[in-house]
Amino acid sequence: MAVALGAAMLLGTMTAASAATLPTAQVNTTGLAVTDTTVKVGILHSTTGTMAISETGSVEAEKLAIEQINAMGGILGRKIEIIQEDGASDWPTFAEKAKKLLENDKVAAVFGCWTSASRKAVLPVFEKDNGLLYYPTFYEGLEESKNVFYTGQEATQQILAGLDWASRELDAKTFYLVGSDYIWPRTSMKIARKHIENVLKGTVVGEEYYPLGSTQFGSLINKIKLKKPDLVFGAVVGGSNVAWFKQLNAAGLTFKKQPMLTISVTEDEVLGIGGENVEGLYSSMKYFQSLDLPGNKSFIDAFKKKWGADSVIGDVTESGYLGPWLWLRAVEAAKSFDVDKVVAASPGIEWEDSPHGYLKVDKNHHLWMKTRIGEWQKDGQVKIVYESDVIKPDPFPAGYQ
């Protein structure tokens, strides 16, 4: 090793490629699973149980990114080896597997978790063992940890731009808020209500939560028909989502008659709901598969090549893809796998042509990104009707708590 380093120095070519020659003892001072030729990372998602539906896309994207990084010569000259663990849609299992990845396998980074509940379950483990987690889902905010990077949107990035747009373009004054009954929709709706009442000076004419997995929305649809809000703002998730849109449609409440903006519908959900049931619906996201950007085109091509031509890619899948690349940049900037050094090197990392365009890592470990409003078409893709400026992440929004 010392010989190799000496040779590199003699040649005087300390470029990124020759960073490969950095000795393991130097890039890894904390006993992580790094050898001269490999580095181990963990992927921790549910591949069984009820959340497997949603988390499969993230696993695929993370594996794709890692494969591409390896094809480019790896990270600091070392090939990435994946250790995949299954959280089985069970939060204590997530914590247990996180502990296994960090304490037994000594992985240098973990890409994983999907629900807020699973993230909250592993957080103490990552903080105690000083691990590194890249978390891909858009979530409710109100969290910031040294050991976690959040590659999805926090609540305000998704909600505020969307509501501002609806108020301006659809002239919405009255709003009806509908969500599934757990932390993410409730926190999101709280932020939405404050924004509607204090900033947009509109009225919330109804706010409703239905249990997860609920499939009967007849009464709710009648209430919406009676109140005739200018906009229904929705965060219904999972299997309920499908029932909700099918029933809206069956009840004659098309989105032409009743405009609706949602923060929970991506291409993945539309696959189950059916394009004809969401035609005209608006979604507020950072990424849509139909985004016409060079970074997106190559991402989609690679994804389809690896995972099949009829794959669909939603917002969270794309967030999963960002994780390994952001880690690569941070590690190369830090010239080390040590978690403390990688964390220190992360803020300020910029990526011009990510699949959803420009992004930047903030000091608060969230990403600067644009918000887009997409209008769903019959074919299950969106037409982008609005694109915001790059929005600074604000996980603890003042005045919204």
């Binding site: 591949t47 069984t48 149980g49 009820t50 497997a52 539906i53 499969t56 009954d181 706010e207 409703e208 939560y209 239905y210 249990p211 997995g213 609920s214 499939t215 009967q216 007849g218 009464s219 709710l220 649809i221 009648n222 209430k223 028909k225 009676l226 299997g239 309920s240 499908v242 029932a243 099918k246 029933q247 449609n249 069956a250 009840a251 004659g252 409440l253 993945d268 696959l271 189950g272 709901i273 059916g274 004809e276």
Partner: protein, 307 residues
């Protein structure tokens, strides 16, 4: 409810009434199979939801086949899909009874564990076979949209369809159980297994057919639910709690009780959903059911049997 015109309120009232009836038909559909298995045979079948899923996946498969090979057949495939769903679920129910349930009739608690294990196994099989993502059957045009009897009233057609199917199935089950020779044997076995055996009824065969029939009906329910929601490996398990609730509340063993309980729970829930939030309505419904069950542990309609 100020500021709304009388006709608007009348329209909403009509649609709300239909929402209640629609929920009632969904409850009956999912509880009917279990009412036969749990009510008549006393088997706690935790895998009942998975038989719903089997029916749903059969329908999805049929829709894919129809789309691929016989596009002109697409408008009518749904009726056949329901029949196929019944046959597939009936067949698998028959097998499950033969391989597992019949060894456990004398051990009700073990049945509970075994069928729960079976439900987990089946969920993972669905996940491996059909993928973790939720899928939807392509619905024929005539099942979509709404029927407008008068201006301002929209009655969902899929709701009407589920209602009609429920009525048909209930009638069929009634005729089977109370007007056919097989039904006579089933009821005789339920009332007194030893005596039924003594007069020459093959009770193991009756058990097998009854169990398979309950599963087949669950399959039909699953096929019908593809018009309402999507299908995933765990879709069926969403219904299991409500299903048991309806059967237990109605009084195990009484089919009439199942209907009465489905009707009261559906109406209570849909009316309360209108005046408060969905989660709150659910909580209040469950609370009411618990209180009534505390007063009448045997459920609404109890069958008097010699213990």
């Amino acid at each position: 409810m100020d500021g709304y015109s009388a006709s608007e309120l009348a329209n909403i009232f009509a649609m709300q009434a239909f929402a209640g009836v629609s929920l009632f038909s969904v409850f009956v559909l999912m509880a009917l199979g279990l009412a036969i298995i749990f009510g008549q045979m006393g088997v706690i079948n935790m895998a009942h939801g998975e038989f719903l899923t089997i029916g749903a996946y059969s329908t999805v498969m049929m829709s894919i086949l129809a789309e691929k090979y016989m596009p002109s057949f697409l408008p009518y495939y749904f009726i056949f899909a329901i029949v196929v769903a019944f046959i597939v679920a009936f067949g698998i129910g028959y097998l499950v009874e033969f391989l597992m349930i019949r060894h456990l009739y004398r051990r009700p608690l073990d049945t509970l564990l075994a069928t729960w294990g079976l439900s987990l196994i089946m969920q993972q099989i669905f996940r491996s076979a059909f993928g973790a993502r939720e899928v939807s059957a392509t619905l024929p045009e005539w099942l979509m949209g709404s029927w407008q009897p008068i201006e301002g009233v929209d009655i969902p057609i899929n709701g009407l369809f589920v209602l009609a199917l429920t009525a048909f199935l209930s009638l069929a089950v009634f005729i089977f159980l109370f007007r056919s020779r097989w039904g006579l044997k089933v009821r005789a076995t339920t009332q007194n297994r030893l005596m039924a055996g003594a007069v020459g009824i093959s009770t193991p065969m009756v058990d097998r057919i009854t169990f398979a029939l309950g599963c087949g009906i669950a399959g039909v329910a699953g096929a019908a639910f593809t018009t309402i929601a999507s299908t995933g490996p765990t879709s069926g398990s969403l219904y299991i709690v409500d299903t048991f609730l309806v059967v237990v509340f109605g009084g195990a063993g009484s089919l009439l009780g199942t209907f009465a309980s489905a009707f009261s729970i559906a109406q209570a829930q849909s009316v309360m959903e209108f005046f408060m939030s969905g989660s709150m309505a659910k909580v209040l419904t469950l609370l009411t059911v618990i209180i009534i069950l505390m007063i009448r542990p045997e459920g609404l309609f109890s069958v008097k049997v010699r213990k």
